[in-house]
Amino acid sequence: MNTLTEEIQSPAVLSLGERPMANALEHEAIYIFREVAAQFERPVLLFSGGKDSITLVRLAQKAFWPAKIPFPLMHIDTGHNFPETIEFRDRLVEELGVELIVRNVQDSIDQGKVIEETGKYASRNMLQTTTLLDAIEEFKFDACIGGARRDEEKARAKERIFSVRDDFGQWDEKNQRPELFDMLNGEIEIGQNVRVFPISNWTELDVWSYIQKENIEIPSIYFAHKRNVFLRDGLIWSAEDEVVFRAEDETVEEKMVRFRTVGDMSCTAAVESYADTIDKVVAEIRDSKISERGARIDDKRSEAAMEKRKQQGYF
């Protein structure tokens, strides 16, 4: 038999210089998952196919083993996902034996609830909010578990682990419940829901180190590959997918790239990289001089971009 004490005090990947809390963070996240299952009637795990939500799935497996994850996964599909992500999602769900709910932004557009953006920076990222809020209402979800982290962005740094949203899905950032010690207050009224962030205290490097240590499979676009791309505003955009708008004077070239986040294709830029294994990716993140969301055009729209989106109900 093993001694868990040793396990916690000496993480296997210590020599790589990543945050050693990876293990303490894991125990904290598992605690949060169990609180969700115990305190709410209809939780759901919001699954995007990105590394953060894949990490959530592994943590949920650990929290409830040997039982199955006691809630469904839900994907809000913008229709602009990388095909590799969708393929990966379907395989994972089958292995887990859990229910997958998919709701499409295209449906919200067809129903006239949202209007597709046009132009150079057109993206469906913002439109997800409406589809998400409709799905929450449709299924009467009272807790939506997401992979947001406080290190991602300044407004997210102020997010609670249990974050209450009103009937309109809105975040009242000035009137948040204080969270003391380990105690999570999930009391809500009918119509309200709680956004839950089990990996709030993880950094990008913590997530990558965890994926490395746990040997978790992730979509191939996270690793360096050859891709036809073009440059705009100093960022590298995929030229292989028609949903990414490209002007005629923007010339296509082939580069070795990988994606650091896997959001909607239309707002996720690639980075030049030769990191084609998890070990190389972890090393690259550790030495990186650019923050993760530096490659997300949705955050560059204004200094307060994320806060505004969150007030409207965005994840």
Binding site: N2, L4, R19, P66, K154, K158, E173, N201, K289
Partner: protein, 415 residues
Amino acid sequence: MEVLKIATAGSVDDGKSTLIGRLLYDTKSLTDDKLEAIEKTSKQKGYDYLDFSLATDGLVAEREQGITIDVAHIYFSTASKSYIIADTPGHVEYTRNMVTGASTSQAAIILIDARKGVIEQTNRHFFINNLLRVKDVIVAINKMDLVDYSQEVFNNIKADFEKLMDKRDYQEQKITFIPVSALKGDNVVNRTENMTWYQGQTLLEHLEELDLQDIYNTGTPRFPVQYVVRPKTEEFHDFRGFTGKVYGGELNVGDEIVVLPSMTRSKIKNIYFYNEEYKTAPRRSSVTITLEDEVNVSRGDMLVKVGDLPTIDKQLTATVSWMDSSSLTTGGKYVVQHGINKVLAKVDTIEHKINPDYSGIEANATTLQMNDIAKVRLKLNRPIFYDSFKDHRTNGSFIIIDSRTNNTAGVGFIE
């Protein structure tokens, strides 16, 4: 490598955000794009220096007013430690955030403006960090550049602060004074030529050497059951796993335990973490435990070692910090959440209010307003299993929920 959670406290304009920004900058924790954003915004505002507070002030209202209104979490690391800073605002009306930040921190930085010295706010910041039994407090006397790096000014402020220290309840708290200039970078990460009279460590040097010997390790394990796992599959047909987090000490396979409140005795059969079995569940591990006997255990019950029982009672006295805009009143009914366990509570008496600035107590209070701190007696509708906060930080604290709004309205530290 270790992780240190630090809470910061300071009044408006004490330069707290600047200090944190300086820590990030001098430890090279700011990425190029973040630095670029700070440079750009500083220039737009017409500053001839980098406004590091822009690195942390996250909400629009905060940037408009140039103040911090909510707890923000900031992450950085050095070669030997990882740090999580809870940046908490210093305004009177936001004391609740300071209590919140301190509740999860092992160390606290209290900022003092060298030009102003110890002010009423300082007393409050110290009082709260002492009340919450934060083990290490660093008093950073900031803006030394604006008082000509005067040793006399530093010594006078230190002497004033030391008068407060005699009054503190938690005498073992370690307190260290450091003269700094966050704006100029003196004694934050790097040593300075400007204060040769100061021989001590810089702020970061001090943090790097803090002994993290744990104040939460009391040697008395408490295991509140969060959730019962019953897979009901063929392979695990009779499996009943009690999941939870271990507080205060460790649990081992074979330990004789008592289930509270039923007082049923059993032995720990297995300890699982995911699909692996272990013989020890260390403090703060989230594990799944099975017992030798078929015992009825559900959420809110607690497993403790035989001969190591907490207090089991339907009443308690606690120091309460009130955090809600609607006041607490004698006779008022609330939900008390003690760990994961919820019970109904009635305010029996408010024994007295405690001025959180060491100026004494106020008897005959019947209500508590936001930011008030008081000794309160509560009656509960059923017994809970608690320790005193002094002995057990986790099992000695609770939150108070207002069932009309569901807000977390206060926090209590049990006597």
